[in-house]
Amino acid sequence: MASDTTLAGLDALDLGDGAPGGGARDRVARIAHVVWPKVAAVALAWVIWEIIHLTGWKHYVLPGPGVTLSNLWGQARTGLLWHAIGDTMERAVLGYALALVIGTVVGLLVARVPLLRTAVGSLITGLQTMPSAAWIPFAIILFGLNTSAILFIIVMAAAPAVANALIAGVDYTPPLLLKAGKVMGLRGLSLTGYLILPAALPTFVAGLKQAWAFTWHALLTAELLVLVAGQPSIGVLFQADQDQTDMASTIAVMIVILVLGVLVDAAFGVANKAIRKRWGLT
């Protein structure tokens, strides 16, 4: 018996028949399966909030969920809230993009150049533990009360997280893959581009999610303290609500922040899942 036909037969057996494809019905069931726990969690939070409200605890300042949501609805119908979300998101995306570029370059250099790692490796983690608020006087003196100051504060918070994520990703590259790449003749830039960076990607993307959280923390801190004239950001809304002791509006804006956070988290979840699927880690 020819061994090449045996080999083809073995391949067919090894790979099996493959999973049967799911129909539209399965799809609906799968979505429902994911959605209902989230809806239940929101409903539970609503009930607890309502109960607290009904007990009358701090009832002069703490509104119930009904009042708050109608306040949110009211704000959503005016342009101001959307304008503020737009301004804040623009800063977040811009600051994050800057942090991404700077953090990636620094991370790659530190990961690949031993001398740099010895010199500044632990400094990066040190920077990451510095609270954003600590950068505010420095940023205002350096840049003044403007968007540059805010972007600077974001970069100082998020870039170390980006750099650390990349360093971890590079460090966890299996030595066998590096060996394979070197024997293949990959060196220098092509080694970095075709091997080191793709190998670091899963850890890197997980770290980028964390960097986004740092961005968001830094941004909101900065917006509360660096009020830029003529730009109605979320921070400005907060400031106005605080000045007018408007708790319903305050909570409404907090809900907006929460929703934005959940949406961004979902986007990162999709990216993470796509990579894991590609690598066969699901």
């Binding site: 061994s3 090449d4 045996t6 080999l7 083809a8 073995l10 391949d11 090894d14 790979l15 066998l176 893959l177 060996k179 394979a180 790449g181 070197k182 024997v183 293949m184 003749g185 990959l186 092509s190 075709y194 091997l195 793709p198 190998a199 990607l201 590609r278 690598w279 066969g280």
Partner: protein, 256 residues
């Protein structure tokens, strides 16, 4: 290490090669005065128990590490295969092969056709679009073989490449390796490390037995058996038992 002298008759030459890891009291001598020459196109199997420095020897021949003393000469390009396929999980089977082509600067226009040929050569023509995790262990190892061939190697270094496979797949890959060597159209020199004595006799033109701690060449056995061979044939078993006896003698030396 010279890779240019084509006039020499040997493909791989090790002359008094020693390798010591670490320094002082904790130093470990992995290889001790190993002298070995393989002719172009020769299939040499290196066999030995744990600690015989087999993998060290291949790393040195691949240029991944330098010997502490002695000389290594390799005529031509080397490729290295490991026990694990070491495929890049973010690329497809075809992408893995194509990257090896790109690394030696094969023009983009030729890469696709060449990749296809190489995957066909290991009978995986229809699986180019699969990712490594979607393939069986034997198939992954064949992709790794195609990737090694893509490096246009003259010398193929194999570090227990079939050690992690089931017996049936392994036997089939032995046949496959024979066939691929005929098909590549040049004399492919192979240095094959294993601790499966029968596998060594099944595949090799010559079996070299190494001692353990430190690794030293203690015996050489030519394999004068006609191909195609079968791992379960009587002549293979007969020679394997001779080598196994000698190997056991060497191993029991360490128990005394």
């Amino acid at each position: 290490m010279s890779t240019t002298a084509v006039t020499e008759t040997a493909a791989v030459t090790l002359a008094g090669v020693s390798k010591v890891y670490g320094r002082g009291g904790t130093a470990v001598r992995a290889l001790d005065q190993v002298t070995l020459a393989t002719a172009p196109g020769e299939f040499t199997c290196l066999i030995g128990a744990s600690g015989c420095g087999k993998s060290t020897l291949l790393s040195l021949a691949a240029g991944l590490d330098r010997p502490t003393s002695g000389d290594i000469t390799v005529n031509g390009r080397v490729a290295l295969m490991f026990q694990e396929p070491g495929l890049f999980p973010w690329l497809t089977a075809a992408g893995n092969v194509a990257l090896a082509l790109r690394a030696r600067k094969v023009p983009r226009s030729e890469r696709k056709a060449r990749t296809r040929e190489l995957l066909d050569a290991v009978q995986l023509g229809g699986f180019g679009a699969k990712r490594p995790h979607e393939l069986s262990g034997g198939m992954r190892q064949r992709v790794a073989l195609a990737r090694a061939l893509a490096q246009d190697a003259d010398v193929l270094l194999m570090d227990e490449p079939f050690g992690a496979l089931d017996a049936m797949t392994r036997d089939l890959l032995h046949d496959e390796l024979d066939r691929v060597r005929e098909r590549v159209g040049k004399r492919l020199t192979v240095l094959f490390v294993t601790h499966n004595v029968r596998e060594a006799v099944r595949l090799g033109d010559r079996v070299v037995l190494l001692s353990s701690r430190p690794g030293r060449v203690i015996a050489e056995y030519p394999v004068p058996l006609a191909r195609p061979r079968r791992i379960d044939s009587a002549p293979v078993a007969e020679l394997a038992s001779v080598i196994t006896d000698r190997l056991r003698e060497e191993v029991s030396r360490h128990g005394q």
